[in-house]
Point group: C2
Chain length 512, copies 2
């Protein structure tokens, strides 16, 4: 009798689990989502953060930056920066502090669909793509080929379908387009027609900003709609480390700001090459450069939305080659995230890059370790988080798909441990141990938490060896290829068909 | 003239780099080593740690543990625990606090070679193997076969050669041995003859302890030598969660303690099955069970070296199957590490496990994420850190080799960011930016730090796509197989030949 009841109870539990599983979860019930707060990992003490801050201010005051364009010299000196006889612009610390006070905080990077808006506040964490890979990894042949506009569009469509990839910044260069303006226009359209998540692009040539903005107005439905919710930000490599402005990129940045486009103030030094070899000093230099950017932006347009883009990379000091998947990279990025919090301004940096050429075990540990530390450090914008191989030279669509699983796990760690009166009440233990069933399977508490507290991989395989054998030993990469193809076969264009037809009539669009 | 000098300077830098690379680094100069202090990652606040502590004390007082062996009942009740009419032993909080005060702190787990001694103090982190896998992953055929004594011995020999794997606990069951006593003896000898690092084993049957200790005395060169530096610890699954003692295992533990063997007090519940589904409550239960173990050990032998082995695992709540590679697992383990620090006693838990059946990208992110969070949480003993697949059912020798690279990266993050007056001095930036070469390649500072601050992977590939192509696209797993074979071909037996011959004459040894 008791046994029958137990069996009933347990099979009721199983049925209840099946029922629960088939119901889609409300957004606020999901175990993970965009914008979860991090900050549980702090590689720097408060005193160390201060030391880095003061060194950065010293560097701005004593070393300054060279090579500002004439327009930049005017903007910066008018605000109080000092142009030296050596052509370098130096920044009194009071100026930096004033501009930090004016800098935009708690900004939103808009999606075309508001459900994808990114709220950059506190330690809220968002993951997305970025980069300028020139190759695509072809898993059918394990070779690298030139990346195209179609690849970029496909990556946008895949990103649109992935829960844990929160924005889509241009990740590849469309090498099938030789005209640079056509490339910039196609880049924007490949991204925006593939996803309604927030898009990032990057202009090298200031003269391309106006025609690109015109295209964005058409996508938005007019300038007013664009300016109300600008859904594309520009990644500005406004400095060439160490401590030099990039003239063209500064002029592009000025044009973007006038057009109402949020900017990413990107300082991408390489420790041991274009940045100092000590990790702490590489952070000092990146912070100094980005603070110069904060002065530039806020002197020109106080409170214009800008992301503090300290992206110091790592050199393999044996060869000088970049290493994006290293532990030193993870430390640089997490240290920078703490600096962003110190200034309380929206920040971004790079993580998730693999040095491996293929989505193999090395790629897994590199993208796993660097992404989890970026997330737990509370980095607002984690760029390059998925798909990146060969230290940024190659992009892999299957790694993008697999990256969704990696980021699901990472976001679950960011969410952390829920410690409440309920979650530590020993009543559940009493019910099980003192005359209860002696296990927690199928208990009310277990059922209640199975979908809200636990995240399940889409492609990651948890079968036993026996089940795996009986399923004919499925291989991870085969599953990734299948999911990629499935997503692409179902993907819809994210532009109104009439607008799309008009744009395709007026522009030379290189992808289907 | 200036150009010539510059070229000279740079090629001099290159030569200097080559020279530096060929010189072996002194142990204290290496970028990573055993016992680096962690603790930069804290998933729990201090208040949350306290809440878990109090809940664990409540559970010990109100629920207690059942099924103690008669010897355990005597030891525990004599110390002040209360045997209830329901057969459960309950622990007044004063008793727990008294025994915590007596518990061994700052213990050393000895290697047979003192250079491998593990000093379990503060947040010092050590990584090693563990487990009871019943399969070995065969990469030639991508299949699972039964594990043997030879596999275990090979894993020990490989571990001996790996810098970043600091101890070798029995990871596989020698399934080719049907007699259980012969299996336990072969397990010890397979481990100890393969490595002089600290070894862990596990006895199920209390009657096997005495003959095993006899073998250990022979390896050590007598009882006195063994008791002076016991180089094998016993992993005691002294509880069967939830809240039950394991009678046989408790009796084995008593025998180990009398024989001077350090013990691992192992509580291996599975959240959602044998432990509560809320992560916080699973930690509560594991802590309560291990505190019962602390009372047991210290009531019997005050200050006997014991590791607080909270190993709560994760169930995939859809199926009840174990998931060792999940984010929830990483949180459980890191949360437990914080509890160990709260009690200031040596602690261990599990990380690094993959649910994947093969050393693929999933295995990489699972082992990477779980190990890095275990290390950064300051866990003294990270068990199962390398080689484990299929949620502990399979061991892969190639993953062990690859794991050395993973742990190198993990240890580098544990080492953290060096923030000193030197490492943040902007003089190095001035030298480069103000009339200097404009880059940091080959600078004195870069050269000085390249081997002490940066770690380089052994198998991880950092080639550019071009170099990789020219090298015929080397595959990671081929490289891992080659390194495994190379290590095994060069490995020496770590036992004096005469002792080895005598042991092989007296025992039925199943491996070469």
């Amino acid at each position: 009798m008791l046994d029958t009841e137990k069996r009933k109870g347990r099979s009721g539990g199983r049925a209840a689990r099946v029922a629960l599983r088939s119901a889609p979860l409300a957004e606020n019930m999901r175990p993970v989502r965009a914008g979860l707060p991090g900050g549980q990992y702090r590689p720097l003490t408060d005193a160390e953060v201060l030391r880095i801050h003061h060194a950065a201010l010293d560097a701005l005051e004593q070393i300054g930056l060279s090579q500002a364009p004439p327009s930049g010299v005017e903007i910066l000196t008018k605000a109080g920066a000092i142009l030296g006889d050596d052509g370098r612009i130096r920044f009194p610390r009071a100026l930096v502090e004033d501009m930090l006070a004016k800098a935009a905080r708690n900004i939103t990077l808009h999606g075309r669909d508001p459900q994808y808006d990114l709220h950059l506040t506190g330690t809220n964490v968002h993951f997305g793509t970025a980069g300028a890979a020139v190759h695509v990894v072809d898993l059918a042949t394990n070779t690298y080929r030139d990346s195209t506009a179609q690849d970029l569009h496909d990556a946008a469509k895949i990103t649109h379908a992935l829960d844990n990839v929160h924005f889509f910044q241009r990740a590849m260069v469309a090498r099938d387009i030789s005209d640079n303006l056509e490339m910039d226009l196609n880049t924007i359209y490949a991204c925006c027609s593939g996803t309604t998540k927030h898009v990032g692009t990057s202009f090298d040539d200031p003269s391309h900003v106006a025609p690109s903005i015109e295209l964005l107005h058409r996508i938005a439905g007019g300038e007013e709609a664009w300016r109300a919710r600008p859904f594309v930000s520009n990644s500005n490599c406004f400095v060439v480390p160490p401590m030099k402005f990039a003239e063209e990129s500064c002029r592009s940045m000025e044009a973007c700001i006038r057009a109402g486009m949020p900017v990413l103030l990107l300082s991408a030094g390489q420790a041991g090459a274009t940045a100092p070899a000590p990790i702490a000093l590489a952070i000092v230099q990146a912070v100094a450069e980005c603070l110069a950017g904060v002065v530039y932006v806020n002197a020109m347009a106080p409170g214009h939305p800008a992301v503090f883009g300290t992206w110091p990379f790592v050199s393999d000091l044996r060869t000088g080659a970049m290493s994006g998947g290293s532990a030193e990279q993870a430390l640089l990025t997490a240290g920078c995230a703490q600096m962003h919090r110190f200034y309380d301004i929206p920040g971004g940096a790079a993580a998730g890059i693999s040095d491996s050429k293929l989505p193999d075990m090395q790629a897994g540990w590199e993208t796993g370790i660097t992404n989890v530390l970026a997330g737990l450090s509370g980095l607002n914008m984690v760029y390059e988080a998925v798909g990146m191989h060969a230290s940024l030279l190659g992009f892999c669509l299957e790694s993008l798909v697999l990256g969704d699983d990696v980021l699901g796990q990472v976001l679950r760690t960011v969410r952390g441990i829920d410690v409440t009166e309920d979650s530590t009440s020993i009543e559940a233990m009493k019910a099980v141990c003192l005359g209860g069933p002696g296990h927690y399977l199928g208990s009310d508490q277990t059922l209640a938490l199975m979908q809200t507290e636990y995240i399940y991989p889409t492609l990651g395989n948890r079968m036993s060896p026996k089940e795996w054998n009986e399923a004919n030993r499925p291989m991870l990469l085969d599953q990734a290829i299948a999911r990629k193809n499935d997503i692409l076969s179902k993907a819809q264009i994210q532009i109104d068909p009439a607008v799309d037809a008009a744009i395709r009539a007026d522009y030379n669009i290189y992808f289907k």
